[in-house]
């Protein structure tokens, strides 16, 4: 029997708190899960610094990847024998689902920002490079790794396959919303996925939803909206991320200025030099970064030491609502005052806006920017969701912008009370 069709003697199941069970029958999937690159995802948290706010949010990208695979497995099973569904695409879409987050590193968002990395690029490199994952995929066929990479990269010719993994109602989002809700313990994020899976229909170039399933989709869109503001964009999580980002900035700046670290940061050197290889990248995980943060507590550099201490002991920056776009003069003045009292604003005065986060809202495909969710009407015609649903229309049109300014209130409070600068800083921040 060809490797691509090989089945395990007995079905394997993973207990899963969100989907109850994740079922694996294909040898290829089982072998992929066993590769070092996939196992590495156990050591990367799905929600980065959110555990500082929601202590339960320690779940990993490994959990999520299995969850996305399971959802796609169910979708594909529902699509069997339906018009437009090509059975030979089954293994391809299952592999893409399982591997879609393979290139994520530790605290991806901060690392990508500071070091100019792109996790999608690393996903592609892991799939196409000399790796365990590539070895498994090549056993299916020589061209199979490339196809899997294209599906994940959204450049595969068959848009239906792409839309199962990546669209505005895809398996990725359906898993992370429910999983993140479960592990953070919030009551948002829940929706009737079983119903959505039952009303999904394959069309020539996308998955659409039977009109009768509109209310289940409304619930999903509302969940997404609430999770965005209540979990993903939580100001305390952002504070932790701001500090993490500044640790990376500081460590890099010190390295580039020939500072001598007590313990040479071997795992970071190629990142600092901007020439990271695939091997270097796959060696990075949150255990490694945690080790260095711990070791940097012993460093001579006050800023690096302080930032690491804040991150590890959750002594986070405070924040105020502040719109620097409308208060440019005050921002300039604040920076100056920080310098005057010996606090480097580069590391201790940080503005953060909602556009800095990669999470997205539902967009009804204005001018065909992104594929919107389409409802399939009883006559077979398609209609964009927000044109049929008042609820979705209401939140699609509503734009919210959020800006915060982060700073170490403890350091500011420790300044002498008669300091002119201290008084003015507090006046600007809390007026």
């Amino acid at each position: 029997m060809a490797y691509r069709d090989e089945k395990l003697e007995e079905e394997k199941v993973f207990k899963d708190p969100v989907h109850r069970y994740v079922h694996v029958r294909d040898r290829v999937i089982w072998d992929l899960i066993a590769t070092p690159e996939f196992q590495r995802l156990r050591r990367i948290k799905q929600l980065g610094t959110s555990y500082m706010t929601f202590h339960g949010a320690e779940h990993s990208r490994f959990n999520h990847s299995l969850g996305v695979y399971e959802i796609v497995r169910r979708i594909v099973s529902n699509f069997e024998n339906r018009l437009n569904w090509k059975k030979e695409q089954r293994l391809l879409v299952l592999c893409a689902a399982l591997l879609h987050d393979l290139g994520h590193g530790p605290y991806s968002h901060s690392f990508e920002k500071v070091f100019g990395l792109d996790h999608e690029e690393f996903t592609r490199k892991i799939i196409l490079g000399n790796t365990g994952v590539n070895h498994v995929l090549r056993k299916v066929s020589a061209s199979f790794p490339k196809k899997v990479a294209e599906v994940i990269n959204k450049t595969y010719g068959d848009k239906l396959i792409v839309s199962i993994i990546s669209s505005q109602i895809d398996a990725d989002r359906m898993d992370y919303l429910q999983r993140d809700a479960y592990f953070t313990g919030v009551s948002y994020g829940h929706f009737d996925m079983e119903r959505i899976l039952r009303v999904m229909r394959p069309r020539e170039d996308q998955v659409v939803i039977k009109e009768s399933g509109m209310h289940a989709v409304e619930d999903y869109i509302m969940s997404r909206y609430q999770m965005y503001w209540q979990v993903y964009f939580h100001p305390v999580t952002r504070s932790a991320e701001v500090i993490l980002t500044k640790i990376l900035h500081r460590a890099k700046a010190l390295y580039l200025s020939d500072y001598t670290f007590k313990l040479r940061p071997e795992h970071f050197i190629s990142l600092f030099d901007g020439d990271i290889t695939l091997d270097d990248y796959t060696r990075l995980d949150e255990n490694i970064t945690g080790f260095y943060f711990q070791s940097w507590l012993e460093e001579e550099d006050d800023i690096l030491r302080d930032l690491c201490e804040r991150f590890l002991n959750r002594r986070l920056f405070k924040y105020v609502e502040f719109n620097p776009l409308l208060h440019v003069k005050e921002m300039v003045e604040l920076s100056k005052l920080f310098y005057e009292v010996g606090i480097d604003p580069e590391y201790y005065l940080i503005d953060d806006s909602s556009s800095d986060l990669p999470y997205d809202f539902y967009r009804p495909g204005e001018e065909e920017e992104r594929l919107p969710i389409h409802l399939q009407l009883p006559n077979g015609k398609l209609k964009e969701l927000s044109r049929q649903s008042d609820i979705v229309e209401a939140i699609s049109g509503k734009k919210r912008t959020d800006h915060k300014l982060y700073f170490p209130q403890d350091i500011l409070e420790a300044l002498p009370d008669d300091s002119r600068q201290k008084q003015r800083i507090f006046e600007i921040l809390f007026q």
Binding site: E120, G157, L325, R363, E367, E368, E369
Partner: protein, 167 residues
């Protein structure tokens, strides 16, 4: 601080008016591929490279009154127009912009249709491939747009002319 916002406003200042969100997405992408250091991250979407960060940042600038956004319902979609406001101009005066001068490139881009820019940006997305492979890829991922050989030739010429502007 707020360098990405300032960079975008600088672009709108050069462009004066941008009609269409898709066109805006492609203009910024093409400029970025030609060395203008915009910070927005792009991914491939159905209509070519697309940046959610750019969409959010433009929303922010509009919400804050630094950009003016007007909409027109075109029945199957909504068309947006963007111009910079006086507040936007005022905001820019606080920034020393170290961006390269790309005014001429912006004017070249503005003259082109969003369909054409979609083709150019998709070609640039696959620029690591050989020319024939790029064209093959474009025909696969953009089957519905049905780009002609003539359009492909024009797109290559356009890419060359953009490169020359960089030199």
């Amino acid at each position: 601080m707020l360098a990405n916002h300032a960079n975008l406003l600088q672009f709108f200042s050069s462009a004066e008016e941008v009609v269409g969100r898709k066109k805006l997405q492609k203009m910024i992408y093409i400029l970025k591929k030609n060395g203008v250091p915009f910070g927005e991250k792009y991914e491939f979407h159905l209509f070519g490279p697309y940046s959610e960060e750019l969409s959010l940042r433009v929303d922010e600038l509009s919400n804050l009154g630094l950009l003016q956004e007007t909409k027109e319902d075109k029945s199957s979609y909504i068309q947006y127009r963007y111009t910079m406001t006086e507040e936007g101009q005022q905001f820019l005066t606080h920034y020393d912009n170290h961006f390269p001068d790309y005014q001429e490139a912006v004017h070249l881009l503005k003259e082109k249709s969003s369909r054409f820019l979609e083709l150019v940006s998709t070609m640039l997305y696959f620029e690591e491939l050989q020319q024939e492979e790029v064209e093959e890829k474009v025909r696969t991922v953009k089957k519905k747009q049905n780009y002609t050989d003539e359009e492909m030739i024009q797109a290559w010429e356009f890419i060359d002319s953009m490169k020359k502007l960089r030199q």
